[in-house]
């Protein structure tokens, strides 16, 4: 029988505690736990539990990244103005929105976030800008709407779809940090859709017309073209990533834990979240390989956060006899 030394030309390190930052393929024997361990790359994405939000709520908006996330607005038993900031472990309170509302959209990062639209009882055109501490008013949307999607940044934002006073809207608006201007219209007017990407390379997917839809549309800064359909038609979902590497998760009906990854052409199923829910929000400024889902509703409002890590992440495994 060949030995490890004969095959790999080196000996297994014997340590009392696991190395803090092992590389893929590294192997060691831990004398404290008396187990052989190695570092491997994950073959598929995985959702882990993150810190619970301070306030369970749904129809909220999100921005930022997995380690610097932002949650704001939504509905508890009434419209909420609450903002919470995530550091990758726990949520802390931020400055309140000036206008409590639900069904709003968000984009940007934790220290430069953007909130727009929403409503209940009336459709809102309000835009607010977050600086990491407090919200200040920005330019109003041209079309007041609830349940739009957002993408991009505080100074190059994208607002798409939603429900306006006249019904579902296909209208797209672009924000420059001061005011909104009209962009190309979606082919399919809808609300409760999700967005990802940037103002010049955006993505809109899912949503509600008369029923849940699977449509994906890609924006080039001027007009929308059809992309590949989601495998699962759904609305009130969340998204993250870019136009060529996006993630869709949650939504309904019924409440879904489904996660799908987009490669610029088509969606493929990825590992589902642990908790099926809709009307959730996501850290939509992060890459598709590292995002977070938070809030939403199962049968009740939830505060759960789940953190997605895409395939290829390093994970320490223990060698077992079985």
């Amino acid at each position: 029988m060949s030995t490890y030394y004969q095959i790999f030309g080196g000996k297994i390190n014997v340590v009392t505690s696991d190395p803090s930052d092992p590389i893929e393929g590294q192997t060691w024997y831990n004398t404290t736990s008396e187990v052989l361990k190695y570092r491997a790359a994950t073959a598929a994405g995985a959702w882990a539990a993150g810190g619970n939000m301070g306030t369970a709520r749904y129809i909220l908006a999100g921005a930022g990244t997995q380690t610097a996330g932002l949650a704001f607005g939504g509905y508890t038993t009434a419209d909420s103005a609450l903002t919470e900031e995530y550091d990758g472990t726990s949520w802390t309170s931020g400055g309140n929105l000036a206008t409590a509302r639900n069904g709003l959209a968000g984009c940007g990062i934790q220290t430069a976030g953007l909130a727009f639209g929403g409503g209940d009882p009336s459709y809102s055109n309000a835009t607010e800008e977050y600086n990491g501490t407090s919200w200040t008013s920005g330019g109003n949307l041209g079309t007041a709407r609830q349940y739009p999607a957002g993408a991009g940044t505080q100074t190059a934002g994208l607002g798409l779809g939603g429900e306006a006073a006249t019904g579902n809207t296909a209208a797209t608006e672009e924000y420059d940090g001061t005011s909104w201007t009209s962009g190309g219209s979606l082919a399919t007017a809808r609300n409760a859709l999700a967005g990802a990407g940037t103002q010049t390379a955006g993505l809109g997917f899912g949503g509600l017309t008369a029923t849940a839809v699977a449509n994906t549309e890609e924006y080039d800064g001027t007009s929308w073209t059809a992309g590949g359909n989601l495998g699962t038609a759904r609305h009130t979902l969340a998204g993250a990533g870019t136009q060529t590497s996006a993630l869709a998760f949650g939504g309904g009906p019924p409440n879904s834990a489904a996660t799908e990854a987009y490669n610029g052409t088509s969606w493929t199923a990825d590992t589902s979240m642990s908790t099926a829910r809709r009307r959730l929000a996501g850290a939509n400024a992060g890459p598709s390989s590292s995002t977070a889902a938070f809030g939403g509703k199962t049968t009740v409002n939830v505060a759960n956060t789940e953190e997605f890590t895409g395939a290829g992440a390093g994970v320490t495994k223990t060698v077992t006899g079985s």
Partner: protein, 101 residues
């Protein structure tokens, strides 16, 4: 019939409740009422239930908890004004959930 799943009740405390390593080793699914489903006959699943101080439930016990939660949500939905039932996210009655063995 061999069981494919086992159930427990545990409150998700946040970070560390399901670690990345947990999620890679086993499929952990949450249901209403803090009911969690993990694979049966799986040492990693047993360790996870111990870690989260989960209270083991038979599938019948878990089903009863989930059903009570769903029925409460259905009653709340039924009581909504008709215009609210048409709002996005509200436009379908919470559906029954059947836990597999």
């Amino acid at each position: 019939m061999a069981k494919n799943y086992q159930y427990c009740v545990a409150e998700c405390w946040g970070s560390g409740f399901i670690t990345l390593e947990d999620a890679i080793k086993i499929r952990i699914s949450g249901f209403p009422g803090n009911v969690w489903q993990v694979p049966a006959h799986n040492p990693d699943a047993n360790l996870w239930i111990m870690k989260v101080a989960g209270s083991f439930k038979t599938v019948q016990e878990a089903q009863a908890i989930v059903t009570a939660e769903v029925e409460a949500a259905q009653a709340a939905w039924d009581a909504l004004p008709e215009d609210q039932k048409n709002r996005p996210g509200n436009n379908s009655r919470p559906t029954d959930i059947v836990l597999p063995e």
